[in-house]
């Protein structure tokens, strides 16, 4: 069964009414279990579970320590370009917005990368909007090739690619891929993506799977919290993660929980997610999928991020900028406003104070530019 089919089945099986009927006893039974089913996961996202957050937190922390140790991986985004063909109603970069459009040359990207590497970071995430015209795969490959000498890990968060394209990027030195479904509800999705290639719901939904098939080492997914109803969106995102982990047990699956933040545009957030619910989502995901990586970005304010460190987060961005060329000059617009402006060094100190080890480099790539290396770029059959 494809994930699309599983999602359709789940939407029929679990109604909002079902969630409303969850009782305290149901939550307690789930908390006493070690292996949670999808049904258990949904129970932890119910209103009845709200009074058990502390118990969930204690258990989530213990599980995270067991599987990840007391360590947080640090990374940062580098925006290569903000050209975009889509008109997503909730995003600064969308085609209808009159913003300053910029695209870094590969050399500029390398310069910014060098600055980032000077802070000690060795895990980089490259971002673009969706524009095959301005930022084709060949451009991405060029940038990756230049940057790979400074970074142990290069991830991409760009438009959905085909499996072959992922293979090519892996060959160039990419090991990680991020794509957010944004919203799993197909009707809301259709409404929020009126124009552009992003309209293709199913193609986007199946993107992480194509990356896994191409041989990506880590794959990161996520809902954009606030676009769709609670708790459904988190539920489906969790199921998506479970589906991928089960099918591709050798891929590191992780999830981000970005929340809609102020940006350029008129979009009103219909389903705002409170801090409490963000925490509940984080805890429920950790209990449901103990080995799932969980990321909290600099969309969130500093104190909240710090509190979340102890609750199951495994990756954090540091020293971020969501502007193209943000560390070189300021003449482009942000994709979204940051709430945590701390430097890499400040984040590092915070983690030490909390008893965590900041991890700047998680592995050393043995692959040469020629694509040699024990995993190679053939991916899986």
């Amino acid at each position: 069964m494809s994930f699309y089919e599983q999602l359709t089945r789940c939407r029929e099986q679990y109604s909002p009414d079902w969630v409303r009927k969850v009782r305290r006893q149901d939550v307690e039974k789930v908390l006493a279990r070690d292996r949670l089913s999808e049904r258990d996961f949904l129970i932890l996202l119910s209103e009845a579970a709200e009074e058990y957050l502390e118990e969930m937190a204690v258990k989530a922390r213990a599980l995270t320590w067991r599987h990840f140790g007391r360590a947080i991986l640090l990374y940062t985004p580098l925006y290569l370009a903000n050209y975009c063909e889509n008109r997503c109603l909730y995003c600064s970069f969308q085609a209808a917005n009159k913003i300053r459009r910029r695209k870094l040359t590969p050399e500029e990207a390398e310069a910014e990368g060098r600055q980032i590497a000077a802070t000690g970071l060795r895990h980089l995430l490259l971002l673009t909007g969706e524009s095959r015209r301005h930022t084709p795969v060949s451009y991405l490959r060029e940038c990756v090739a230049l940057l790979s000498k400074y970074f142990a890990s290069i991830g991409i968060e760009v438009y959905p690619l085909t499996r072959e394209e992922y293979s090519l990027l892996i060959e160039s030195g990419v090991d990680s891929m991020t794509v957010y479904q944004e919203v799993y509800d197909p009707d809301i999705y259709r409404e929020l993506h009126p124009k552009g290639p992003k309209r293709d719901y199913r193609f986007r939904l199946e993107t992480p799977e194509r990356a896994c098939q191409a041989g990506m080492w880590s794959v990161n997914i996520g809902p954009l919290l606030g676009l769709g109803p609670w708790p459904e969106e988190v539920f489906w995102a969790g199921l998506h993660a479970a589906y991928l982990q089960e099918r591709y047990p050798d891929v590191e699956i992780s999830i981000s929980l970005p929340r809609l933040q102020p940006f350029i545009g008129n979009f009103v957030c219909r389903y705002p997610v409170s801090d409490l619910r963000l925490v509940q989502a984080l805890l429920a995901l950790r209990l449901y999928q103990p080995r799932l990586g969980i990321t909290i970005s600099t969309r969130e304010r500093a104190e909240l991020r710090d509190n979340l460190v102890g609750l199951g987060v495994t990756k954090m961005s540091a020293g971020s900028s969501t502007r193209v060329g943000g560390r070189l000059q300021q003449d482009s617009d942000e994709q979204f406003a940051l709430a945590d402006h701390r430097s890499v060094e400040e984040i590092r100190q915070m983690l030490y104070r909390k008893g965590y080890q900041p991890v700047f480099k998680d592995w050393h790539p043995l692959r040469g530019k020629e694509g040699s290396g024990w995993k190679g770029a053939q991916g899986r059959s």
Binding site: R24, Q25, E28, K29, L31, A32, R33, Y52, L53, E54, E55, A57, V58, K59, R61, A62, D275, L276, V279, E303, L304, N307, G310, L311
Partner: protein
């Protein structure tokens, strides 16, 4: 307190099922049933031994207050179990049946595989099937698929009175199986029965411990109280949640600041 157990379309107030074997005298049985509060009573089908002058146990069971549950003891495979069940029903013993297929004479452990086969056939013929089984998740799932009305895992080997040696396996069944889980066999003391109920068992079946006690009606009452205590404890809120002790300063306290 409204906490009924519904099995096979029947609503039960008592979660203690009673076995009627090994009693010193059948005449004791009505008193034992009364003191136990049991609403489900098992019996066995046997060939008449004309020398022994055995009495029909049904003379001692009031069918108005009890559901009769013939067991298929003596069956060594599914075919024999099915035969016994059909005979019992045709003879007017109702459509409840406890499937007991044992081909191991040393430990009297049930054969899960034959039990699943028998369940499928009898459930298909409209029986309310309660299979006695060795606690095994895969077998339990197969029994659910086959149409069982409940599953009855053994607590310990029959007659051993050793209590819940199968505790962890039974816990898994209670967690994973949607049907009522009724712990059968091996419960030697009322505290064992309470333990099973506290874990979330739907009911327990007790025979040997009551039948061979010094005072069977007294022991029947003790078991009845223990089952109720265990059930009340389970409903009142499992303390299992604090298996993970609360941190000294709450991890989620910041949400309420």
């Amino acid at each position: 307190m409204n906490d009924p157990l519904v099995i096979g379309g029947r609503t039960l107030e008592s979660r203690l099922f009673l076995g009627t074997g090994k009693f010193p005298a059948n005449a004791m049985i009505p008193e034992v049933i009364r003191r136990s509060g049991a609403q489900v009573v098992t019996v066995a089908l046997r060939r008449v031994d004309f020398e022994a002058q055995e009495e029909n146990i049904l003379n001692y069971i009031d069918r108005k207050n009890c559901i009769l549950m013939p067991n298929t003891s003596g069956a060594r495979n599914a075919a024999e179990a099915v035969k016994i069940a059909r005979i019992a029903r045709a003879a007017g013993c109702g459509n409840w049946v406890k499937i007991e297929v044992i081909n191991d004479n040393r430990y009297l452990l049930p054969d899960n595989y034959e039990t699943i086969k028998a369940t499928e056939i009898l459930a298909g013929e409209g029986f309310v099937v309660l299979p006695y089984m060795s606690p095994d998740l895969a077998a339990a799932r197969a029994l659910v698929e086959a149409g069982a009305a409940a599953v009855m895992p053994l607590g310990s080997p029959i007659g051993s009175n050793r209590g819940l040696k199968m505790k962890e396996m039974i816990r898994i069944l209670i967690e994973e199986i949607e049907l009522p889980v009724i712990v059968d066999a091996g419960l030697g003391r009322p505290s064992h029965a309470a333990e099973a109920m506290e874990m979330g068992a739907a009911a327990v079946l007790v025979n040997t411990a009551i039948a061979t006690a010094e005072d069977p009606p007294g022991m029947a009452e003790a078991f009845s109280l223990a089952v109720r205590a265990g059930r009340l404890s389970y409903l009142a809120g499992s303390p299992e949640v604090s298996r993970y002790a609360r941190a000294s300063s709450p991890l989620t306290g910041f949400l309420r600041d």
